[in-house]
């Protein structure tokens, strides 16, 4: 299997400073994830896995170290360039779904496209297509608080996919939903991976992690 690296990190560290204490969340993290991989990052809570995920997702900046996404040095980008990276290269799925409240699922999925300047007509078509793909064709005009947790997470997946990103990042995607629905989510991930999507997922549940092809273990901010 030919391997094109999509994520490369070199000596990433993240230190949180308060007035009294310095907390090292990540220390010297270097790893590579290649195109088409399905990777699970595992570790106990407080291990730094979420921090790592946020840095990979360009939602946060490392204290030091280098991070290449698709060959682009993310650390050197301006705020606006980072916004474009988040918009076009990364699909982020949150544990808490993070849908806009009181807003229809369709409008939620269309949101990233409006920031990308996709024409309105096309936005709706594409959003409908992805909502259908995650099995929510009949929930398009429901607002996010009218549907179940599993359904909300599927809306979030559709939203993450709609810009056709280089990589899907999922932070404990099944952490807030019932087990049966969790399986449905994992089935979608497996299917997406088979279609060629690169997926990086955080979890602390071995049952969930087993769906991934590779597992990276983190403890106390270090890869083990």
């Amino acid at each position: 299997m030919k391997t094109t690296p999509i994520i490369e990190t070199f000596h990433l560290t993240k230190i949180y400073k308060t007035e009294l204490v310095e907390t090292v969340a990540l220390s010297d993290i270097s790893f590579t994830i290649s195109k088409g991989e399905f990777v699970a990052i595992m570790g106990p809570s407080g291990s730094g896995k979420s921090t790592l995920m946020h840095i990979i997702g360009a939602l946060d900046k490392p204290t030091s170290g280098q991070y290449l996404l698709d060959g682009i040095d993310v650390g050197k980008l301006s705020d606006d360039e980072l916004a474009d990276i988040r918009n076009q290269k990364i699909g982020f799925i949150f544990q808490a779904f993070n849908l806009l409240p009181r807003t229809t699922t369709l409008a939620n999925v269309m949101l990233p496209m409006s920031y990308a300047g996709v024409p309105k007509q096309q936005r709706e078509e594409r959003a409908k297509k992805y909502l259908e793909m995650v099995g929510l064709k009949d929930r398009m005009y429901h607002t996010s608080n009218q549907i179940s947790g599993g359904q909300q997470q599927r809306v979030a997946i559709a939203r993450a996919l709609v810009m056709n990103p280089s990589i899907l990042l999922a932070d404990e995607p099944t952490g807030n939903i019932a087990t049966t629905q969790a399986e449905e989510i994992m089935a979608i991930f497996t299917k997406l991976n088979k279609e060629g999507h690169t997926i990086v997922m955080i979890t602390h549940e071995p049952d969930i992690a087993k769906h991934a092809k590779r597992i990276i273990h983190i403890r106390d901010g270090k890869i083990i």
Binding site: H54, G57, L59, D60, K61, D79, D80, A83, D84, R86, N87, Q88, F92, F94, N98, L100, R102, T103, A107, L111, P112, S114, Y115, A116, G117, K120, R159, M163
Partner: protein, 407 residues
Amino acid sequence: MSYIELIIESLGTLKLNKMRTFLAILGIVIGIGSVIALLSLGQATQAMISSQIESLGSNLLTVNPGSTRQGNVAGGAGSKTTLTLDDAAAISGSTQITTIAKVSPELSRRTQVTTGGSNTNTQIVGVTADYLDVHKIGIATGNFITDRDVTQMTKVAVIGPQVATDLFGVGSTPVGQTIRISGKTFTIIGITESKGGTGFMNQDDIIFVPLTTAQKQLFGVTYLSSIALEAKNADLMTSAQDEVGYFLLTRHKISDPAQADFSIFSQADILNTATSATGTFTALLSGIAAISLLVGGIGIMNIMLVTVTERTREIGLRKALGAKKKVIITQFLIESIILTFTGGVIGILFGLIVSFIISKLINAPFIISPSSMLLAFAVSTGIGILFGWYPAKKASDLQPIEALRYE
């Protein structure tokens, strides 16, 4: 995202979050409305006070005779008998005097007045027809004293409403009836309108008779107690005072103004006092306006700060999905503008309605001041937009994950 799209998006967000939108608009409505109502009421009260002062006659000059002097003992002002009807006629007939419109010679005394069973002690004023205009007296019933009454020395009287009440009972209109002043019978030909005032200033407790009748038949004198002059307009008061002063000095053959046997008292002096009083009132009003603007502004600031800060997570999410800072700030600015303008317009209407109702209740004029309305609107919308923009800017400066974690 184009501006039109952003406006549509903002309107959508405002519509989806009805409660939040309603509360924000309510805050702005109360803020602007109360400022406008307070300002408008304050101005109405001020207008009411100044119109009451104006009604005393703003163009009025009074010439009083000087005080008598025996040795080093000075008598009261006006105790001299140096002013005569000829002086008054000379002033009104002179070509040298250009600033005076009307001249009203007056003789005033307090005396006992009786009718049938009742009596009262009141001010008797001998007047000519011009008194009416110079002192801005209105006639409620009947007529005022005419020049013919003065030349023919008729025994007619015009009484104030207080006298009518004292002598004839509440609500009476005793035109045509008679009263006795110093033992002489006078026919009542008119009743003046109520002017208000209390004590010595009570302009309703007064009886007017023809000047000549007062001089010859009632009091047996030839002098006047004062001459009231009406200047052509309020700006001419000072020059009118100088002109008349010089004229009378010449006429009375007095070369040293310090020795003048008369004094000229200007209504402007009263007006100055009154103006400084209304000035204090204006300052008070400005203070109230400033405080209500401040209070309204803080209210608006609070509601905007709270509603926008509460959306820090939403801003984090939008950033995570690829929104640029400028897009987020623009969206929140548009939302603030829509909110503050809607609230502002409703607030102005609300303020006007409230001040209209209150002005009707307290019987004050309803005054709309566009400048204060503009001020209230500008300050409130300015604050609304500033504090809609500021937390949005602060939130969009955060890393997306920090904004998302915001509690």
